[in-house]
Symmetry: C2
Subunit: 494 residues, 2 copies
């Protein structure tokens, strides 16, 4: 593939000097339009060491408004970053709407340097390509422009550049051990680079190969590529993003009444409850330390009807857990940084680190429940969310995260009874809002959304547990028992 | 001091079993009131290893709503955390309004373990006490309840507890090397503990010593202390927070017309500008690498009248800087996490790490400018902000941060001219908002706020630079020259 590239392409200095200010002005104007249109931009620069990534980026941003972009240099992950799924640190850096983030090397490090250094195993590589494709698809579907550059120079050219850099004190530190190792293994790298380009070149996130021998040619081509991408994206601003839903929806008729199969009236006596809950809490107390010692992350999510008893179940779950080992995230409407980025951003940044338990009181499933029913997102957004959520959960599960999902289920009659009780009991009245009554009016809509959700996101590896919750005692014991069983199974597997 | 403590205090089990549920219920109710009143709570647990911090915290939170508190265990700082002033990592964890954060060991680690281990030098200790006092005063002034526990046991008791823990596999890992070292140096610790208690016991952040030999007694006393603190705070909810401004305000008459001394009409020819700016940008390019190599953090802040040319000055400043080495923060009104915490939180989290340049387009001075003039904060809030800001800057300066502050100054006539130009030039029209016109109407109010600000926050070590900005060319050169001079001075000092 890459041997076809004509590395002799170059540009005359006079021509460069004429072209550059024009292109810089053009990019400045487009950058402003992108900002106004709230389009996020991801530009990733990959390429051989000494191919000129740094100086190209500098020329690129020289005339831009510094408030509208951010350059993020990527180094090997810091210790704290290795406690999360590998893409976690890149999710932390995704652009806000209207912002451009330029990555000086990127997540592709994983299939280049880490691969050559054998820090990822052969059989992991395909998974990593999948992770990358999911990541880029998700950003693109959310409206992002994604531009990826591979800056290409020959082995000989690289040698000459290293020599020149090493001569001067001001530049010699720029040639790192990692760079030297790359040069030595140039041919191995070439194989990895070609596979990377072939596997991850997608219409919504294409690679542009830059023949980088001549720096004038390099810069002008980078400018032109960005300008074209911006123009193309601005042109179809109102025409949708061109990424189709990845999972076909089942037709209305094929909907299986998943929830109808559950007997909501399972009950437990107070005495049986007390015995079982104590036993389970004590077991969980010890399993909590085991989680910490085995450095496994755990994520538990609680979804359910209003007044189904999520809060109470979580309280019994955590009662004897060491409070240093868990964290409860209450998920309401997004705000601040969360509000101006991809909807999964706020869950990526709240993922448990290795050895920690994160309990989500409502979760990313809001996208296909409340946001769907209330129209807070578009139809195409919630329709593609099923596959995005499955991709997201697959990634965290593969990192070793123990993921447990609960739907707390009560009948419509039971909910009404609880709402009325809350109104009467003064100390619980604050829990009941007008919104609760409004949501209740949409029971059927929620039920339909719920059936879709259970059908599409319950997998063998990461199933939903439906908790029959008309009886709170039964519900709490079932939650605890499910957690204890799952943790015992997972923690003994090792 | 501590030899006076009666470590034999204890409580009968029967009494404990009766008292505990009542106190738990009481705390549950108060915790809810605290949430409703949006009061932030900081509870710090310090004490001897094996004094029972973990189990006490667990009993404390057992019945609380897990959505309203967070337990934060403090370990030695991670590498990434050492790249910031030492309190940085604690600022990241401060409670949102209405939230309780329980620290299992805390910032006092610095004057205990780190001191004994000689990781802080003798002459640094007094500074650290100052830092701590400033930190707690700032939180308290913002409305936080601060409760600090020292859990005290004798050396003999500690020895017995270690022995017991080490016997069982499930608990033996809890005795760390650090704990063993503490036991050996018990008497040295005692001296450090007593100095800590004496130096940092303040009305708005008092220490409570817990005689921790008997665990029933321990827990009940902790509950009672928290309950009293909550009750006291809720009682004076509307009575102000009782922390007085730390710096006396100068009287109206003593105001010196700082700004009147500057000749706003200094000009530069285009030719002189071009020569100087190129030279300075090239120098800065090299100094940028020096900053990175010497691992010095740099913070530059830009304040100034609307249309004074902050954006243009920042653009010329960054034109030849390696974009991997700097970041521009545009500061608008706070949102999200920033909005529900102490106003300095959002600046602490945006501080440059060692080796990085952070450029603030508007800054923490908003508190004493726009927030003061527009009434976005109360009078007592902006009045105490001068000393809070001085404390904040002192801390980051002592960490080694190079701090440069600019006020871009134009005349009222010049501003009007620029506003009118912007209205006419289509491509700049988006920069001009109704708010700009409104602010202009308050010129005198801003001027008064500005004079106060310059007077109170310009110190010999961290002075303001007034940039005469009627002529943009002059302004840009002065900014660059100031930065180059300061960096050359600071980076050669070492």
């Amino acid at each position: 593939m890459l041997e076809q590239i004509d590395l002799k392409q170059s540009l005359d200095k006079a021509e460069y000097v004429t072209l550059l200010p024009r292109l810089q002005q053009k990019l400045y104007d487009l950058h402003h339009d992108i900002f106004e249109a709230r389009i996020p931009v991801v530009a990733a620069f990959e390429g051989w060491a000494a191919a000129g990534k740094g100086s190209t980026i500098q020329t690129l941003v020289e005339r831009l408004d510094p408030r509208g972009f951010r350059v993020v240099p990527i180094t090997p992950p810091r210790t704290a970053e290795t406690h999360y799924p590998w893409l976690w640190r890149f999710w932390q850096k995704i652009p806000a709407y209207g912002q451009m983030v330029i990555f000086d090397t990127s997540w592709y490090r994983r299939v280049l340097i880490d691969r050559i250094k054998k820090e990822v195993r052969r059989r992991e590589i395909q998974n990593i390509f999948e992770d990358i494709k999911d990541f880029e698809s998700q950003l693109a579907a959310d409206g992002a422009v994604i531009i990826k550059f591979w800056m290409h120079i020959s082995k000989k050219e690289q040698a000459q550049r290293f020599k020149k850099l090493l001569k001067k004190e001001l530049t010699s530190w720029q040639v790192t051990d990692e760079d030297a190792a790359q040069h030595k293994a140039y041919d191995d790298y070439l194989v990895a680079v070609e596979e990377m380009l072939a596997r991850t070149d997608m219409p919504h996130a294409p690679w542009t190969i830059i023949e980088a021998t001549d720096r004038y040619f390099t810069r002008i081509k980078v400018f032109q590529t960005l300008i074209s991408a911006f123009e193309a994206r601005l042109a179809k601003r109102s025409a949708g993003f061109g990424v189709t839903a990845l999972v076909p929806l089942p037709s209305e008729g094929s909907r299986s009444p998943v929830l109808g199969q559950h007997d909501l009236n399972q009950r437990l006596t107070r005495e049986a409850y007390q015995n079982q809950i104590n036993l389970l809490q004590n077991k969980l107390h010890i399993l909590g330390y085991e989680v910490y010692q085995q450095k496994r992350p755990v994520a538990m999510i609680f979804e359910g009807w209003d007044a189904a008893g999520k809060g109470g179940a979580i309280k019994r779950l955590t009662a004897k857990l060491d409070p240093r080992g868990y964290i409860v995230h209450s998920i309401a409407a997004p705000s601040g940084d969360d509000k101006v980025r991809h909807y999964l951003y706020r869950f990526w940044r709240r993922l448990p680190e290795a050895g920690q338990i994160a309990i989500f009181d409502r979760s990313w499933y809001g996208r296909v429940l409340v946001e769907r029913v209330e129209g807070f997102c578009t139809e195409s957004e919630w329709k593609r969310a099923y596959s995005e959520i499955n991709q997201f959960e697959r990634q965290i599960e593969q990192f070793g995260t123990i993921l447990i999902k609960f739907w707390l289920h009560i009948s419509q009659v039971e909910q009404l009874k609880r709402f009325q009780e809350r109104e009467q009991l003064n100390y619980k009245a604050w829990k009941l809002t007008d919104e609760d009554w409004r949501n209740r009016g949409k029971w059927q809509d929620y039920e339909r959304a719920l059936e879709d959700m259970l059908l599409k996101t319950s997998t063998h590896l990461i199933p939903w547990t439906i908790v029959e919750a008309n009886d709170k005692l039964h519900a709490r014991v079932k939650v605890l028992k499910t957690v204890v069983d799952k943790l015992e199974y997972e923690l003994k597997k090792e």
